[in-house]
Amino acid sequence: MLFAILSRLGRLVFVMFGISVVVFLIFFATPGSDPAARIAGRNASPETLAQVRQSFGLDQPLPVQYAVMMKRLFVTQDLTSFVNRGQKVVPAVIKAIPVTLSLVLGAAVLWVIGGLIVGVAAAATRGGWTDRSLMALSLVGVSMPVFWVGEVMNLLSQSRLHHTFLFSWVPPLGYKPLLTDPAGWFKALVIPWVTLAILYIGLYGRILRADLIETMQEDFVRTARAKGLPESRILLRHGVRSSLIAFVTMFGLDFGALIGGGALLTEVVFGLRGVGKLTYDALQTLDLPVILTTVLYASFFVVAANALVDALYAVVDPRVRRAG
């Protein structure tokens, strides 16, 4: 058990190191152009370029540059943007985290509940009318680009149907802090939550249904039926429980991926100033230090989330614990 944990941790550290090296190489060692010019942004003056070269140690060998970069990112956290002069990057990212968290957490609640309902209802009415229409809807849900769904939502709730009772409560785009304005926070986020959750409700519903149908053919389900348990109880207590492992795994990975940049498109469409929007704005101004920071921080978060799922896994499934 201890060995398993240690080897897991070792792998975690390796993957984080690997990611930081990949990011570093992409930004500093891609052939074809001068990294100083990239970092300094568009139309930088020669003085700025010299300043960038000096502060990132660009005249030194690559391993030294790597060390300087990592130190500035994680130890001293004094990386500054050259597009928005003097803006400290790391604090800006940290300030944006609550917005992203609010968005993804709310959507996650929606999609877990929605996915469970869709999956169970479809499996229970397998082959029937409900099943078929739910699966058709899910397929449509997973086929639409999320940013486009967001635009359609905006069009309806902000413009075309804003005067009707349906959407008159929708505030203008933007984020309200939870602590100072809880009601505003909720109202501002409902539509983004739904938008982000649609894809995952479809995805999880489809996968859960397939999983449940497979499980319902297993021997232990036959035993439960023979025992005379009602079908609904078998489905909910036996079926769903055994599908839960796949569900939890997927959830962990998706949740991590969304926090780590996957929610970017939703944030952009709804003007929520989270980490994704920060990255997007930096992308438009070619503000490399900001992108470097968000990419690295977000990747590390994803890796940490995956590791957490691993741990959760061992808690849920005793077989994993034994296998080590």
Binding site: P31, P145, R160, L264
Partner: protein, 354 residues
């Protein structure tokens, strides 16, 4: 052990290469491929989806024809002061805006007639319908080429890992590990921001900035680990089977084992992945283009047109709605086809990427 469970694409251990239980006794004589094709052809939903996809591709291929014969304008040139005759009256393509603050312009709306500006104009006075067709060409092209790229790399890496094992497997697998943990959009963003402005030159490969090859390469690369991992797993389990052991014992050269024994056996899994990857790449392409790091102006793709339409969302929503609908329809058809292909070729495959 944990590794296998954690990978959502992981295979349930060694699946026997050709399962006799899947084809009926009657079909078994004609071989697994013919059986699968027959099963796919019988799937009415998948066939309808395929037909719609062919129509979309044909329409997009006819883009130059549409632009010259129907819309009669250059969909890549701005047309700020142009006029167009509708119902006998001349109207400016871009009229001063009357809504909101009265700033900017409102392009001409959709005429819904088979002619110039069927879907209206964008904020530079370009014909949206013509741009949609040209954009669809790029979107389909990028999705297709990126899929091909992913499959070639992933199959090569998966086979190498599984066949040679040992240090080759160790190194490649660690690299896949790292890329796999990397959030797709962040990897794509990092690659794009560095490459999009200046292009890429590595040895004989010279990709200019603004070239379609950039998004193709970027999208092609980011999904490699998701495909390579299951193929590696399947190759590993095949390597344990007796017919491979026999081939090795007989001294069959590795390349022959690759081509004759391994490749045919992983092919069903690869085929199942094709429509799914295409669908995923369509979405990824439109997302990257929407973020302005995919297809570069004046070229169009469905993603860039959605972005053009974002500023006109409340005044001329069709500019953003139409290309989004096109993406959704195409991806929906690909997903339906994907379900059909899975049922026909490898019904027990659990495929889900991203």
């Amino acid at each position: 052990m944990t590794d296998r469970i954690l990978d959502p694409l992981a295979l349930p251990a060694a699946a026997p290469p050709q399962d006799p239980a899947l084809g009926g006794a009657k079909e078994a004589s004609s071989g697994p491929w013919a059986t699968a094709w027959r099963r796919l052809r019988r799937d009415r939903g998948a066939m309808v989806a395929l037909a719609v996809l062919c129509l979309v591709a044909l329409a997009c291929a006819a883009a130059p024809l549409y632009a010259s014969a129907v819309s009669g304008t250059n969909p890549f040139a701005t047309n700020l002061n142009g006029e167009v005759t509708i119902d006998g009256t001349a109207q400016p393509v871009l009229a001063p805006s009357t809504t909101g603050l009265g700033l900017g312009v409102t392009p001409i709306g959709p005429t819904w007639a088979f002619g110039p500006y069927m879907l209206g104009a964008d904020n530079q006075g370009r014909d949206v319908a013509a741009r949609m067709l040209y954009g669809g060409r790029n979107s389909l092209l990028i999705a297709g080429a990126a899929t091909l790229l992913t499959l070639v790399f992933a199959v090569a890496i998966g086979l190498l890992c599984g066949f040679f094992g040992g240090i080759v497997d160790g190194v490649l697998n660690r690299v896949l590990d790292v890329l796999w943990a990397f959030p797709i959009y962040l990897l794509a963003i990092s690659l794009s921001i560095v490459l999009i402005a200046e292009g890429l030159t590595i040895g004989p490969i010279d990709i200019r900035a603004g070239s379609l090859w950039l998004p193709i390469a970027i999208i092609g690369v980011v999904y490699v680990p998701y495909v390579a991992r299951p193929i590696r797993g399947q190759t590993l389990s095949l390597m344990r089977s007796e017919f491979i052991a026999a081939a090795i014992a007989l001294g069959v050269p590795p390349w022959r084992i690759f081509v004759k024994d391994l490749l045919p056996n992983i092919m069903p899994r690869v085929i199942v992945l094709v429509p799914i990857l295409l669908a995923l790449n369509m979405i990824t392409e439109s997302s990257l283009s929407f973020l302005s790091i995919g297809v570069q102006p004046p070229d169009a793709s469905w993603g860039t047109i959605i972005q053009d339409g974002q500023g006109l969302l409340y005044s001329r929503p069709i500019v953003a709605l139409a290309p989004g609908l096109a993406v959704a329809l195409t991806v929906l058809c690909l997903n339906i086809l994907g379900d059909g292909v899975r049922d026909a070729f490898d019904p027990r495959a659990k495929v889900r990427i991203a």
